[in-house]
């Protein structure tokens, strides 16, 4: 299990790309899914490389993502998902999900 993980509030993201660019281990990529505002939000393309350093959280101007170190109790089965999920009580409709088997490409903007 990876040392860390991220939580993303998809509806807040404006796809600025800071988190993707400055993650030291290149965990993140912008997905082809998008939120209610039409932004392609990030997801963990290499979750196993996440150290929970929270550099993504420090960069995010929209407070939409943060990294955390996996607490010991939670080091159980960790779902390997490729779709972004809403982590807060949704006030917006759920985003369209990309097919899990499709190769995700890094969004250049």
């Amino acid at each position: 299990m990876a040392k860390g993980s991220v939580q993303i509030v998809v509806e807040r993201c404006k796809a600025c790309g800071f988190c993707v660019e400055f993650c030291p281990t290149h965990v993140l990529a912008l997905s082809s899914a998008f939120n209610a505002k039409g932004y392609h939000t990030p997801y963990m393309v290499h979750p196993e490389k996440c150290s929970g350093c929270d550099l993504c959280g420090m960069y995010c101007p929209d407070f939409a993502i943060f990294g955390f170190k996996q607490p010991e109790e939670a080091k159980k089965a960790q779902a390997q998902a490729s779709k972004p999920t809403v982590t807060e009580a949704a006030t917006a409709p759920a985003p369209l999900a990309a097919a899990a088997s499709e190769k995700e490409e890094q969004d250049a903007r």
Binding site: R12, C16, F18, E21, M44, P47, F68, Q70, T85, R109
Partner: protein, 290 residues
């Protein structure tokens, strides 16, 4: 993407008025990024949050006061610093932070800034410098470098820009640093140092304004600007502030430039009055009414 099985909160959220999020700042704007550093600094410095007050002026950065869950004051354009001075002098136990933009602090507010620095009033100033008047649509600011296009210089700017660290040091500040929105950790550390410092302290945070400054000058978006900061910034702690001027595409010198000791205004006032009046001096820790 994985979901945590334990409810974990974004460490910045405890400092935000979550009922006002999402905020108004543009995609790729660095103001929100600076707020993350601010939140990190508050935690690491173990600042007494109850006694922290934030004062801002008008502009995009001025909106920070409305998003942080502290005693916060969104004042008039250019006058955050004198408001902060009154707040601090009436209630010295407050840790007063001014969080405002380059136009607000250095154009309309310039006079107040230099006097507060001269007096060495114990307030901490965080100036997010996006080189433009952003909120009102991208007009020239006293920090806008030469030869760029703005809405009030459609054919290109020609007046020279202030070198903010130089100006603030000359006016008397005891702590002067500059970072960019890329330098999130160093910025948080500088803010942490600043909270512990007594006297007029100043941090300039260079930020993209992708919607106005960068877009009008075909400099890319927020991410391009952040990569640019990473590429051309040089950390030179202790550099002479006269040598850290910015230009359209030149080197960006960042670092902590000034960290010195000087009696703050409150201390000077106290000492003078105590000397002159002796027993008759009534020292109050605050000017509070009942």
């Amino acid at each position: 993407m994985s979901e945590a099985t334990v409810a974990i909160q974004n460490p910045v959220e405890q400092f935000l008025r979550m009922d006002r999020i999402p905020h108004i700042w543009c995609p790729g704007c660095g103001i929100g990024t600076s707020v993350n550093s601010f939140a990190r600094a508050l935690v690491d410095a173990k600042v007494d949050i109850k006694n922290l007050a934030i004062v801002s002026g008008i502009g995009c950065t001025g909106r920070v006061a409305g998003y942080v869950n502290l005693d916060s004051f969104h004042t008039t354009h250019g006058r955050a610093i004198p408001f902060a001075t009154g707040l601090k002098l009436a209630n010295p136990k407050l840790n007063v932070v001014v969080y405002s933009g380059d136009g607000d602090l250095f154009a309309i507010g310039g006079n107040h800034l230099i006097h507060a620095a001269r007096r060495n009033v114990d307030i901490k100033v965080i100036c997010v410098n996006n080189l433009i008047y952003a909120m009102t649509g991208g007009q020239t600011a006293p920090t806008t470098p030469g030869a760029v296009v703005t809405s009030t210089n459609p054919y290109g700017t020609y007046d020279p820009a202030f070198n903010l660290p130089y100006l603030v040091e000359a006016a008397g500040a005891v702590y002067v640093a500059r970072w960019t929105a890329f330098h999130v950790r160093q910025l948080a550390r500088s803010m942490e140092e600043m909270f512990a410092k007594k006297g007029f302290s100043f941090i300039e945070v260079l930020s993209p304004c992708p919607t106005l400054y960068q877009r009008r000058n075909k400099m890319g978006d927020g991410l391009d600007t952040m990569k640019y900061y990473k590429q051309v910034s040089k950390v030179r702690n202790g550099a002479p502030t006269s040598e850290v001027a910015l230009s359209k595409s030149g080197e960006i010198v960042v670092g902590k430039f000034v960290d010195r000791e000087r009696s703050d205004y409150g201390g000077l006032m106290h000492d003078t009055l105590a000397d002159a009046l002796g027993e008759d001096y009534v020292e109050t820790e605050a000017c509070a009414c009942q």
